[in-house]
Symmetry: C2
């Protein structure tokens, strides 16, 4: 069982493997929001690539989340702040969602055998899920507009480290080795390690410190969202 | 003066900055071979993207180097082993060169304001050159077939660390922060750190341990090759 890490959606075609479970990561904040949504009782989510598609769902009566550049798109009720989903009004709902990077990563990997959603919030649940699947694993980091980012890489490293050292997985991929080494440097204080990172600073300007601390605190939402057709459902 | 690191030629368009000095890196082995060639008296080199172009130069009487997948392409005299250039017959010559990754990285960056060639062999000379230029710096790692690799990242980290901590450069780029942290982990024994890396193992199968050790030993060739038009010359 081989592990690879693809740092950006742009690079996905180079890594596509029909046997891999694809683990989509957008720690700040799309996959953290999605994990939180399912933990709070959302029934299904529909990831869409464009704001136009999201608008169509809105017209058809769906609850819809749309974020671009860290902010809720005008005319929508939800963005990708996890706190927006800690609300009884989402329970049992189907929510369409489009975000700057996270839903683009899901779109890039749509031909994968299986896609699951990972964040620090469901870290151990994701590890258990992959351990049971016993398949090759490909982490697809959302990054920021197709550039590498640290927080997604650290999560890939956290999962990969456990799978390799405890569960019989292997890697011959330099990006996996780098992700594991960076995670080892960061793991004792993720918030501090990421203090200088690009996206954390981008969000800090939007006054989202509370979101950042929440998204970097592991295992608060032990659920694994899984793609089934065009829907994300609880795995 | 801002620093960015682009991990693969594929991503170059996302990083293009008309004011940057582009530093092309292919530690194992194209930029190490080019650095060695100039240190051994080569007059000019002509990087070309395809074996077909290289053949044209050969037909026109040039000395030509061509490597694909770690080996010299049949019909050519030189590949990208630095030891091929430690030879009096290259002195004063103009050599066309095409390699799997390194010359592709040069090709990707051809619209850059300025391109220089870096390897561990000319580490301090590159740092001095960039310090004098006082421009934004963009490292373009050749990687392996557009996938991230460790050895190129480590060199970017080595140069970036010095420029930021000693020379007044700055970064707001996560790939630069990652490269610096990985270099800090690796710097006391690069050969050992890279023991598990993908390309090192690829080369080890071709029995190129001597090349690897040479390419990872800093400051053996204090020259900086610079692109001028279609030629690389001694900067």
């Amino acid at each position: 069982m081989n592990i690879e890490v693809c740092f950006t959606p742009q690079a996905y075609p180079l890594f596509h493997n029909p046997n891999s479970v694809v683990v989509v990561i957008d720690v700040l904040r799309a996959t953290s929001a999605i994990t939180t949504a399912f933990y709070n009782g959302v029934l299904k989510m529909i990831p869409v690539a464009t704001v136009e598609e999201a608008l169509e769902y809105k017209k058809n009566g769906f609850m819809v989340a749309a974020e671009r550049n860290g902010e809720i798109v005008e005319g929508f009720d939800l963005g990708n702040s996890p706190f927006g989903y800690m609300n009884s009004k989402v329970k049992g709902k189907t929510i369409a969602i489009t975000t700057t990077n996270g839903t683009q990563a899901i779109e890039a990997a749509k031909k994968a055998h299986k896609i699951i959603i990972a964040s620090f919030l469901n870290l151990d649940a994701v590890i258990d899920h992959l351990k049971e699947d016993k398949k090759d694993v490909l982490f697809v980091c959302a990054g920021w507009k197709n550039k590498f980012n640290l927080e997604d890489t650290l999560l890939a490293g956290a999962v990969a480290e456990k799978l390799i050292f405890n569960c019989g997985f292997d890697t011959s991929c330099d990006s996996t080795l780098a992700a594991i080494d960076l995670y080892k440097l960061a793991k004792y204080d993720l918030v501090k390690y990421l203090a200088n990172s690009s996206h954390r600073n981008r969000l800090a300007k939007l006054d989202l410190e509370r979101d950042i601390k929440y998204c970097l605190t592991p295992n608060q939402c032990p659920v694994v969202p899984v793609m089934k057709g065009k829907f994300l459902v609880k795995g």
